[in-house]
């Protein structure tokens, strides 16, 4: 989705959001928390051309929303990522909630010693 950004809101809690005006519709784009924006030094003055990739949905309030996965500001040729290919929020850092990282499916790496050596479980492996 391509258009211009206006009305950036950086709340203390909840996602940073802005309006995206495309040729046909207006969307509210939901991104990540304010500290994540600060770290990535994202600036989005009103009227900035942006390209947003993500999931579109119709809110209960009748407005159109985009859960942003990726955003590009074509003028500066900068890309900002908010979610990975699987939809995992990148501001959560650690992959603890990523696809298929089951609680009880630790990698069997590093297991010698004891009966459980190499048998995975909650304390072994890097997940």
């Amino acid at each position: 989705m391509q258009g211009t950004a206006t009305g950036l809101i950086r709340p203390e809690s909840g996602p940073v959001r802005f309006h995206l005006h495309s040729d046909r519709d207006e969307y509210t784009v939901l991104t990540g928390p304010a500290w994540y924006w600060s770290d990535l030094s994202i600036e989005l003055p009103d009227g900035t051309p942006v390209r947003v990739q993500g999931s579109k949905s119709l809110g209960r309030d009748g407005n159109l929303y985009i859960i942003a996965q990726e955003m590009e500001t074509p003028r500066t040729r900068r890309f900002f990522f908010f979610r990975d290919e699987g939809g995992f929020p990148l501001w959560k850092g650690s992959g603890a909630g990523r696809t298929g990282h089951g609680i009880g499916m630790g990698s069997p790496m590093g297991g010698h010693g004891g009966t459980g050596g190499g048998h995975g479980g909650g304390t072994r492996g890097h997940r």
Partner: protein, 273 residues
């Protein structure tokens, strides 16, 4: 010891339950595993397959702040196809802290405590330790991680007790919306029980323990070893709450008594609720 356990587990739990900004959920699953050297023999080894069932609870931060507390608790049970003396039930608790100093870096500190009851009671153990990890995002779908894990496990029979230090690194690729692949390497230095085939009494060095294991039907010796392990794992999301994970690890273990090699793998299905 009691003070250490309080600081490592009880205090973080007190923090945890006072912290509301977190996601929590349950997970149940079953995993089929194989291990070509369950007795850690320097001469071939006994292979076995086993089925593991688990029920776990995990609590992760929402990410609205740079730091958060995590918690996971798992109950698991395993049944071995051949050596049923290795069947076990284990409970693991693992509170932790996650800190994100920068959008592209994550630091996690995770102590853990595990109680394990094994059918061969010699091997039943209480283990505790901690893990420190750093993860870096290289690109949207590519990440690297490094970690250090310390484990101290006290078994009913000292030969099966061990303490070890592990250093590892991994690279992960979120290949598609539902598929993640990880490659890893780990170096471990610590104690391990080992089956040496014939009586090793004459070659026992300082710090080695020897014990006749009824589970393995032979003498077992504990010694300090260095291990190198490489692994690959693939995770697949089949539906919103249903996922699978498969992995393979090759481990080479070196000590004064000799070298052991281990091929281990697993395939598991999990369900979140």
């Amino acid at each position: 010891m009691k003070k250490t356990i309080f600081l490592a587990f009880v205090f973080p739990m007190i923090l945890l339950f006072g912290y509301a900004a977190a996601h929590a959920g349950w997970e149940a699953g079953t995993v089929v595993r194989f291990d070509t050297n369950v007795n850690r023999s320097i001469d071939g080894g006994k292979s076995d397959g086993f089925l593991v069932g688990h029920l776990g609870f995990a609590r992760t931060p929402t990410g609205e702040r740079r730091w958060g507390v995590t918690m996971s608790a798992t109950l698991e049970g395993a049944a071995y196809a051949k050596i049923s003396d290795l069947d076990y039930v284990a409970v693991t608790g693992s509170p932790g802290i996650v800190f994100v100093p920068h959008a592209l870096w994550t630091v996690a500190v995770t102590p853990f405590l595990q109680a394990k009851g094994v059918r061969d009671a010699d091997q039943s153990a209480i283990a505790f330790g901690g893990r420190v990890s750093i993860e870096e995002r290289i690109w949207r779908n590519l990440y690297l991680g490094q970690y250090y894990v310390y484990t101290d496990s006290g078994a009913n029979i000292d030969t099966f007790s061990f303490s070890e230090h592990s250093l590892g690194a991994y690279a992960g690729l979120v290949a598609t919306r539902a598929l993640t692949v990880e490659l890893g390497y780990e170096f471990t230095r610590g104690d391990s029980f080992r089956v040496v085939g014939t009586s090793a009494s004459s070659t026992l060095g300082p710090g080695m323990h020897q014990h006749f294991s009824s589970a393995f039907g032979t003498d077992v010796v504990r010694e300090e070893v260095d291990s190198h392990a490489v692994s690959v794992s693939v995770s697949k999301e089949w539906a919103r709450d249903l996922f699978s994970r498969a992995g393979y690890t090759f481990t080479n273990m070196n000590g004064d008594l000799g070298t052991s090699t281990i091929h281990a793998g697993y395939f598991g299905l999990g369900y979140r609720f």
